[in-house]
Symmetry: C2
Subunit: 331 residues, 2 copies
């Protein structure tokens, strides 16, 4: 048997398990040039929420009653394609199916003897690459600057902060529990951590944690948390708008303080950024990240949920902050 | 006698004439190395509003009971400085005084036989340079793109649009009266003009005027007008945040739709910009602008108010949109 998870409804506001359909289909047979793949690790990511809506975006919306897809590490079960052998491991954007065929064109081989397989969905995958490219290409982080990261205990945020420390920056992380804040300082080497759920005045908290002001803000969150950081930006500061998870489930247009006067007065830049636009830098990013990982300069966290049928719930848990580091489902 | 205008109070919200003090003082005598200057043309600009508040900004706040200063074209009445001769004309940041002395260090000589003297405060001065550097250095405007400008009939906006046309762009201007909109099309060669005061749904109006979407938005205004432009930005669009006159007199934090989700989804950039940070490009800018002016490719408008004592009122009139093009006081 072969399980598949499809999009049942376009969610309004916060998605629910009932927005997903579970079906069983036949195991497919690969044609000439194709591979049969068995999913091993499935990545669930906040950006998938956008694809569940009908609105045009930078990636096509998922279709109703069709399988959802995300980054997956899979094992090659059989191959009619000269470039892949039975037993190889690959990663790529694949359907939420236990078994599927592929022509191999968009797949990348991964080394099962290097880092753990799941790392290819995180620190050596899209989230690590996002952290690296956002800081270097968009934020142009310089040695000794002050870097603030929101969603700091998440898969992207924790790498952002560690790269900041490698660059000798003063690094402040914002997260949603005391446990996460503790982890930022002990495991990931951040200088300061702020639990936004226990902080009434974010502006004051950021000011206290950033005595020289904020030069670069890597934002995964948006909303009230970001307002507090903006207030503390130095002249010529740079905001890397990587995500806005606090706003993704909004059903009405979220409002907040207007940023224009501050942008002019402090000559700030805000730049939206999607890692897929920077594929020419992926090779450099993975090489650098793998190097730091081998040297012991990078730590990473994963929350691994077991069971193919738990993929939707793991996705929903992202919006409750139940993950710590990269959220991955082990099939 | 020698008239001087000082800052009497720090305005709260909209400034009033009573926030200014008029005094008469002695005409000064230049020491060794100094010049005696007579003000001829005085520039009044929205950014001066910021300097009237106590808050730290990119320029020092004006001091209470001290003269206000702005860009001025003056005539050298007498000189104890070898670099300037009696009868020369100069421009620079000078006090709102009929007569004052200067050591000449921050002054630039202007050619009284080229463009009219007042042009050195506008199209060949800070406003023209702002338009040029904003579009080229910050917005990186490319041939054939769609350019939207707010405050389009103003001193900066009218030059922005004309540079857009020189670069074969589709140019849409937003202004606050039918007369201004008419002028955008007839005098300045804009493709489309929108009177925001008669437009309920700015988003729809921008969409209609920009059939290919908006690539570059040169914003002098901020607020509701800008919200309508943001909705129509193309992927990888650039917002040049040059000013936010709609928000400068606000006494409470202005709020509006949050921009973060849009920035990420469309990979937009917003960049605050102050021309004074780009002094290394002034020479190039003035040379290019003077060339286009001599070739008849640039038109400009001035609203010239007569009389030194009318400087404060001319400044206040900026916030009512009473100027058309550069607001200048002829002493």
């Amino acid at each position: 048997m072969n399980k598949v998870i499809k999009l049942a409804n376009r969610p309004v506001g916060k998605p629910e398990v009932s927005d997903f359909d579970f079906e069983e289909i036949d195991k497919p047979t690969p044609s000439e040039g194709e591979l049969l793949l068995e999913a091993k690790y499935v990545s669930v990511d906040p950006y998938l929420r956008g694809r569940m809506s009908e609105a045009e975006s930078y990636v096509e919306p998922f279709e109703l009653d069709k399988p959802i897809s995300s980054a997956i590490v899979a094992k090659v079960i059989s191959s009619n394609n000269g470039e892949f052998n039975e037993g190889d491991y690959v990663s790529g954007e694949l359907d939420w199916k236990e078994y599927q065929v592929s022509d191999g064109k968009e797949l990348r081989k991964v080394d099962p003897d290097g880092a753990p397989l799941s790392a290819n969905l995180g620190i050596l995958g899209m989230t690590g690459i996002t952290a690296y490219i956002g800081l270097t290409e968009i934020g142009e982080l310089k040695e000794g600057e002050t870097l603030v990261v929101s969603g700091a205990a998440g898969a992207v945020g924790s790498v952002v902060g560690q790269i900041g420390k490698i660059k000798n920056c003063h690094v402040v992380g914002i997260a949603g529990s005391d446990e996460k804040v503790e982890l930022l300082k002990t495991k990931f080497g951040f200088d300061e951590g702020i639990n936004y759920k226990k902080t009434e005045n974010m502006g004051q908290a950021i000011a206290k944690a950033s005595p020289d002001g904020v030069d670069v803000y890597f934002d995964n969150v948006g909303g009230r948390i970001s307002d507090g950081v903006y207030q503390n930006m130095n002249d010529f500061g740079r905001v890397i708008n990587c995500g806005a998870i606090a706003l993704y489930n909004a059903t009405e247009m979220p409002t907040g303080p207007r940023v224009e006067p501050m942008l002019v007065q402090k000559r700030l830049s805000m730049q939206g950024f999607i890692v897929g636009d920077h594929q020419d830098k992926f090779g450099e990013a993975v090489k650098q990240l793998a190097g730091w990982l081998a040297e012991g300069k990078l730590e990473y966290s994963e929350t691994i949920v077991e069971g193919f049928e738990n993929i939707p719930q793991a996705f929903l848990d992202l919006f409750e902050g139940k993950n710590q580091g990269k959220m991955i489902v082990k099939v």
